[in-house]
C-alpha cells in the first residue's frame, strides 16, 4: 500500500526576510496540500512570526512562479521550493 505523507518543502528567504528570520533557507515539513497561498503564508508566519513586518509587501514564489497571497490553490510536492521575496531598493 502506498504511504500517504505530507510534502516537505524548502523555503528560501531573500533580502529583508533573511534578516528577519536569520536564515537563508529552511525546510518546512508536513505541509498540508492542497493549500491556499494565503494559508501557506499564514503557515510561514506561524513558523517565523517576525515576517509579519513584510505583510502585504512581499512576493511569494512557488516552484519559481509568482503566487498572489490569497485564494490561489497550490498543490505542493516533496522538494518544492518556496521563495519569500521582499523588494530591495538600494543601488
Amino acid at each position: 500500500m502506498e504511504k500517504l505523507s505530507l510534502p516537505q518543502v524548502t523555503v528560501l528567504y531573500f533580502a529583508r526576510s533573511a534578516e528577519l528570520t536569520g536564515l537563508r533557507e529552511e525546510e518546512l515539513v508536513a505541509v498540508p496540500t492542497p493549500i491556499s497561498s494565503g494559508d501557506l503564508w499564514a503557515l510561514l508566519l506561524r513558523k517565523q512570526p517576525r515576517l509579519v513586518a513584510l505583510q502585504s509587501r512581499v512576493i511569494l514564489a512557488v516552484r519559481r512562479q509568482y503566487v498572489a497571497i490569497g485564494n490561489q490553490r497550490l498543490s505542493l510536492q516533496d522538494g518544492d521550493e518556496v521563495a519569500v521575496v521582499p523588494p530591495l531598493s538600494g543601488g
Binding site: 528560501l12 531573500f14 533580502a15 529583508r16 534578516e19 537563508r24 513586518a53 513584510l54 502585504s56 509587501r57 512576493i59 514564489a61 519559481r64 512562479q65 509568482y66 498572489a68 521563495a83 521575496v85 521582499p86 523588494p87 530591495l88 531598493s89 538600494g90 543601488g91
Partner: protein, 459 residues
C-alpha cells in the same frame, strides 16, 4: 657625402613624426572641444535623435566584435545609434550600466544624479575617481563615459527627479533604467514610465543581494503590480546603513546593461515577466516567473487611480534619498550632547557607556571604555547580554556612594538605534535590570568624530 644624405633623411623622418604627433594632438583637442559637456540643472527639450543611416569605417572597426554577432549585426548596431536611454542614478548600478551602454554605442545617454561624489562611493561607483570627490556625479560619470566613447551624446542632469520634472524628462527618452537608491524614487520612476509608455529596466542591490526586472514591457507588470504598497520606512535598509559589496551592484548594473541593449537594438528583453534574484553569498540565481500586468493595478490597470504623478515622499513616508533619517523618539531630558558626555568623561563621572551597534561596526571603531551589546540583542532580551549588563550595573552601584541610580549612556553610529535602545532599557529598568538612569548620546559616534575627536574614524 653619403653620410650627410643619411643624416638629413633621418632628421626629416624625425620632423615628420613630430608633425604627425602634433596633428593627432590637435585633432583630439578639437574633437573634445566639439563635445563640451554642459551640466543640466533643469529639464530642457532635446533635439530629436535619429539613427545613423550607415556605419562608418571607424564604427565598423570599433564595434566589430559585436557586429559579428548575428543577434546584433549591422541592423542592431544602427538601432543602438538611434536609441536614447535615461539612467536614473549614477551610483553603484548606474556606473557599470552607463559604461557598457556607451561602449556598445547607444546614441544618447541621459545621466541623472542629484548627489556629489564622496570617498565612500568609490568602492562601487567605478566611473568616479579620487579626483572627482565633491563633483556632481552626473558630470563625473558623463566625463568618464565620454573618454570611453566620444561619439555617444551624454547629457548630465544634476538634479533631483521629482513629480514636477519626471514626465517631461522621461518622455524624451526611449528606455529608462532605474538605478536609484530609495523607495519614493522607485515608485516615481515606475509611474512616470507607465504614464509615458516607456520600458523600465530596474535593478537594485544591497549587502550581498541583487534584483532585476524589466517593468511595463510587452504586457508585463509594473512595479506597483508587484508591490502595490510601499514598505514601512523603518523596515527599509539603505546602502549607508546596511552596506553593500561593490561588485554586487556592479553585477546587477551589467545585467541592466544587457537588457537595455537587447531592447534598444531591437531584440526582445527576456526579463519582461521575470524577476531575477541574485544571492552573491550563496551564489544563487533565482528567476521568478511573474504574472502579467494586473487589471486592478493603481497605475497600469484598467481603471487606474493614479493618472498623474503624486507626492511620492508622502506616499512612502520617507524622503527620496538614501541618506540616513534622523529619528526623534525621546524627550530632551532623555538625551545628552556629545559635549555633555565629554565633560562626564573629563570629570571621571562613574557611568556605563553602552554601544548598541552590531559587532561588525564595533570592529571598525569604538570608544575604548564602551560595553557593546547590539540593539537587536536588547530587543530580543538575549539572556547572556542582559546578565552582562546587570553585572556591570551592580559593579557600578558598589563603586557609587549612596543609593543613586547608575547612569547608562547609550551610543550608536548616528543616534537613531541608541534612542530605540533607551526606550528598551527604560522598560527593563527596575524589572529585568536594577534601576538605572538611561540617556541617549545625540548624534552618536559620528557627532563625536566631528565635534570632539577629529581623529576618530568616520564611516
Amino acid at each position: 657625402m653619403a653620410q650627410e644624405v643619411c643624416s638629413l633623411k633621418a632628421q626629416l623622418e624625425e620632423k615628420e613624426k613630430e608633425i604627425a604627433h602634433l596633428k593627432n594632438k590637435l585633432a583630439l583637442l578639437e574633437k573634445s572641444n566639439a563635445s563640451v559637456l554642459e551640466v543640466q540643472d533643469k529639464v530642457t527639450p532635446l533635439n530629436p535623435l535619429t539613427a545613423k543611416p550607415a556605419l562608418s569605417n571607424e564604427d565598423i572597426m570599433r564595434y566589430s566584435r559585436q557586429l559579428l554577432l548575428p543577434e546584433l549585426g549591422v541592423k542592431g548596431q544602427l538601432n543602438l545609434s538611434g536609441a536614447s536611454v535615461l539612467i536614473v542614478g549614477c551610483g553603484g548600478l548606474g556606473c557599470p550600466l552607463a559604461q557598457y551602454l556607451a561602449a556598445a554605442g547607444v546614441g544618447r545617454l541621459g545621466l541623472l544624479d542629484y548627489d556629489e561624489v564622496e570617498l565612500s562611493n568609490l568602492h562601487r561607483q567605478v566611473l568616479h575617481g579620487e579626483e572627482n570627490q565633491g563633483q556632481a556625479k552626473a558630470l563625473s560619470a558623463a566625463r568618464a563615459v565620454k573618454r570611453l566613447n566620444s561619439t555617444v551624446e551624454c547629457i548630465p542632469y544634476h538634479l533631483q527627479l521629482s513629480p514636477k520634472n519626471a514626465l517631461q524628462l522621461i518622455q524624451q527618452y526611449d528606455i529608462v533604467a532605474d538605478c536609484s537608491d530609495n523607495v519614493p524614487t522607485r515608485y516615481l520612476v515606475n509611474d512616470a514610465c507607465v504614464l509615458s509608455g516607456k520600458p523600465l529596466v530596474s535593478a537594485s542591490a544591497l549587502r550581498m543581494e541583487g534584483q532585476l526586472t524589466v517593468y511595463n514591457y510587452c504586457g508585463g507588470p509594473c512595479y506597483r503590480c508587484l508591490y502595490p504598497l510601499p514598505p514601512p520606512p523603518e523596515t527599509v535598509t539603505n546602502c549607508s546603513d546596511g552596506g553593500v559589496l561593490g561588485v554586487v551592484p556592479g553585477i546587477m548594473g551589467c545585467f541592466q546593461a544587457l537588457e537595455v541593449l537587447k531592447i534598444a537594438s531591437g531584440q526582445a528583453s527576456s526579463c519582461g515577466q521575470q524577476l531575477l534574484m541574485f544571492d552573491a553569498q550563496g551564489f544563487r540565481f533565482r528567476p521568478i516567473r511573474l504574472r502579467p500586468k494586473q487589471a486592478d493595478c493603481a497605475v497600469c490597470g484598467e481603471s487606474p487611480s493614479v493618472t498623474q504623478l503624486i507626492d511620492y515622499e508622502a506616499f512612502c513616508g520617507s524622503a527620496a534619498t538614501d541618506k540616513c533619517r534622523k529619528l526623534n523618539l525621546l524627550s530632551k531630558d532623555q538625551r545628552i550632547t556629545v559635549q555633555e558626555y565629554k565633560s562626564v568623561v573629563d570629570n571621571s563621572g562613574l557611568h556605563i557607556l553602552l554601544d548598541v551597534r552590531p559587532l561588525v561596526e564595533v570592529d571598525i571603531c569604538h570608544l575604548p571604555f564602551s560595553l557593546n551589546i547590539p540593539l537587536s540583542s536588547l530587543e530580543q532580551r538575549k539572556s547572556e547580554d542582559i546578565q552582562l549588563l546587570q553585572q556591570r550595573i551592580v559593579q557600578l552601584k558598589q563603586q557609587m556612594a549612596g543609593d543613586c541610580q547608575p547612569p547608562v549612556y547609550v551610543i550608536c553610529k548616528l543616534g537613531n538605534d541608541s534612542q530605540k535602545a533607551v526606550q528598551v532599557l527604560e522598560k527593563m529598568s527596575g524589572s529585568e535590570l536594577d534601576n538605572i538612569t538611561v540617556k541617549d548620546i545625540c548624534g552618536g559616534l559620528m557627532a563625536w568624530a566631528t565635534k570632539i575627536d577629529t581623529r576618530f574614524p568616520q564611516y
